[in-house]
Amino acid sequence: MSDTPVSKRSRIADPGAAPSGHQAIEWARRRSPVLNDFVRKRITDGSLVGKRVAVVVHLEAKTAFLATVLADAGAHVVAAGSNPWSTRDDVAAALVDLGIEVHSTRGSTNEVWEADLLRVADTKPEYIIDDGGELTIRMARDRPDLYAELRGVSEETTTGVARLRALEDRGRLPMPVIAANDAALKHMFDNRYGTGQSTVQAVLALTNLAMPGKRLVVVGYGWVGRGIAEYASAMGARVTAVEVDPIRALEAHSNGHEVADLTTALETADIAITATGGIRAITTRHFDAMKPNVVLANAGHHDHEVDVPALARAADAVDDVRPGVTRYRLGRKSAYVLSEGALVNIAGGLGHPIEIMDLSFSVQALGCHHLASNDLSPGVHTFPGTLDREIARAKLESRGITLDHLDEDQTDTLSEILDADTFHAWGDS
């Protein structure tokens, strides 16, 4: 570690903004019982002491609290945002104030953001808590020597896990990766409930529009799309799901949503939200079909799901009409894009609810701890199911909720069909 003070090593917008950042982190702590208690105790066993851990997740209050818990467990934490638009400058300042190195400002250009990631890379992290694989893949590209020395990565998102598996398929993943996203406590809660609630919240807060009676299109019916569809529909919207996968399309249909191709769906859509995890989900060939005054927003990882550059090329005029709402005039009609097509719940809202991130970051913290305390082989590993269940139990306990248990005679076993001797002779597998 360098002898330069943390404040000098960091790149943040305004150290003076720290007070409200501290308040926000304290509020997050108060609403994060699992991370603050169960996980804190579990990872404070010495295995993270002195370890260099990079945290590259949307840099706001919940992420900052995760960084402090890792630092309290003895890790040397360096943080940056996983997106040029999502950093809260006051929270970044508070982290530096707490002695954690940060390289991030809100609204930095892509170039500056990438330079920040490389500065994080140059601190030679041993472990990365990554989002979208943003730091990991840039180290693979721009810092191959340091990349080769990584001891492990715990990855947050569907998109990131897919990227890291692609690297593994090409023989370019020299370290173990924990697919934190694939933990039940992550994707079943964060992607569905977290993104569902916070996306609906952000769309309504940015526009001041009503949900009841709206025709809302969800592009992509994965976990994120399911959550958005569920909450929009609960609030009175009629939802149309757009899918390329027949099984997911059938699931959307079975959940009572309409299912259509995107061009057809856009003809009646008041609001369209992308949740594909891919890019250019809504692009040039769809613009003609859009209803006047449609609201377009993105809930997927990339900022390119709504093809904003193509929209800008097609538009006669572009202007900001409300904070976070940009109007594109296309002939006689207008389309309103929220948060410039960036992740609307984060760029245009407060991100996921705290209690959801308590679960997700518990998975990430235990994932990082698992990497540091076990000698895993290179490649993408699933998050241990036992840890998943322990987190769920801790969360239930924090709510004072008790579980039932099965008695011996309630268990369906082969031994009741086969005779006991045969059953035991076949042995346990």
Binding site: R31, Q197, N208, A210, P212, V321, R322, R327, I354, R399
Partner: protein, 401 residues
């Protein structure tokens, strides 16, 4: 934000307010509001500003009052830039607000669009001098219609009042869907908390309470309703909610949201019984619907994040209050959604016109059903939605006995 941001926010809102636009054209044909002095005493933000500009476009002399906790300054600025008299200062002290209120009354409104009967009451109590010019009032809310009816019953009401609130196109939409959505969203936006799995106590099961309960449940909460009216309590039970006396219900609550429209519905004694960390928000009427001065001694603490302040019981729990007990949706958010206010404000405009078109006696009057229907129909038309017209046989069947 500046005046130009207020202007662009108003223009955006106007795009989603087809019913107000239809009502404006209809009233323009009558020509009755031209030259009339109209006072608008509503929450001052982009949607109501659209009503103000509609009235101005009809030739009315409009003056506007905005409260200190809900006024959006850029909007006030945009209205002033358009030559409209605005009496509003965000964050004005109570005494300063009284000054503004009196200056607003000094414009001698002939018609008044009121919210919570705030100005109508002042005119009847402290400012009877200006009451002589007043021709009629259109009242927006449940909590304003109630005192007006009480005044009428006591033979104190000097002018005709139209209960815009009681129109079906208002009550069934604004109170239910509008407030339901906007109060729950304001609470979640202010706290960044999750709704799934929360125990949410809703105090009062009128239209607002129903809307809040529905949205909270839709987002995954377990809702407990408290009521003083046995019929509404029974209705909540049939809608699948738990019912409990408020003193019991608050003990397990994560969120307590009041929607009673009645003062002293949630008090300090209730706060003292809450869990540490519970969040309180008001969705009905402002203070003292939540009355932290009644009962146990409480101490206000810091504003722990924007629009959230801690309130502690010495030696007991600390709870967090959204916007210090003012209506969460207008204080910690932008108020009800645009399309919902489109309906309410179209009704307001039609009510003001109705007051000039008819010679009503002092008292509280309902908006005629035709006007109610026309506003709803104008919105359906704008949305390209068709509905059925009753057949001759149906009309006959309905009137037979």
């Amino acid at each position: 934000m500046t005046g130009s941001s207020g202007r662009s926010a108003m223009d955006f809102a106007a795009e989603f307010m087809p019913a107000l636009q239809s009502a404006t054209e209809l009233v323009r044909d009558g020509g009755r509001l031209s030259g009339v002095r109209i006072g608008v005493s509503l929450v001052l933000e982009p949607k109501t500003a659209c009503l103000v500009e509609s009235l101005a476009s009809l030739g009315a002399n409009v003056s506007v009052l905005g409260t200190s906790n809900s006024t959006k300054e850029p909007v006030a600025e945009a209205l002033r830039a358009n030559g409209i008299a605005v009496f509003a200062e965000a964050g004005a002290s109570p005494s300063r607000f009284t000054e503004l209120h009196d200056a607003f009354i000094d414009t001698r409104p002939q018609l008044l669009a009121d919210d919570g009967a705030a100005t109508a009451r002042r005119l009847h109590v402290e400012r009877r001098d200006a009451l002589v010019d007043l021709h009629g009032v259109s009242e927006e809310t449940t909590s304003g219609v109630r005192p007006l009816r009480n005044m009428a019953a006591a033979l104190e009401l000097a002018v005709p009042c139209v209960a815009v609130n009681d129109a079906r196109t208002k009550l069934l939409f604004d109170n239910l869907y509008g407030t339901g959505q906007s109060v729950v969203m304001a609470l979640l936006d202010a706290t960044n908390m999750q709704m799934q799995g929360k125990v949410v106590v809703v105090v009062g099961y009128g239209r607002v309470g129903r809307g809040i309960s529905k949205v909270a449940r839709g987002l995954g909460a377990r809702v407990v309703v408290t009521e003083i009216d046995p019929v509404e309590a029974l209705a909540a039970h049939h809608d699948g909610y738990a019912i409990a006396p408020i003193a019991e219900a608050v003990v397990n609550a994560d969120f307590v949201i009041t929607a009673s429209g009645i003062a002293h519905s949630l008090t300090a004694d209730h706060v003292a019984a809450m869990r540490d960390g519970a969040v309180v928000a008001v969705g009905g009427a402002g203070p003292p619907e939540f009355d932290p001065s009644m009962g146990a001694a409480l101490e206000w603490g810091d504003e722990v994040r924007p629009n959230v302040r801690s309130l502690g019981v010495p030696g007991g729990p600390t709870v967090f209050v959204v916007s210090e007990g003012y209506c969460a949706n207008t204080s910690a958010g932008e108020g009800n959604p645009i399309e919902i206010m489109d309906l309410s404000l179209a009704l307001q405009l039609r009510a003001l016109d109705y007051l000039t078109a008819t010679d009503l006696s002092p008292g509280v009057h309902l908006l005629p059903r035709e006007i109610d229907d026309e506003v709803a129909a104008s919105r359906l038309r704008a949305d390209g939605l068709a509905y059925d017209i009753a057949t001759k046989a149906q009309i006959e069947a309905r009137t037979n006995w």
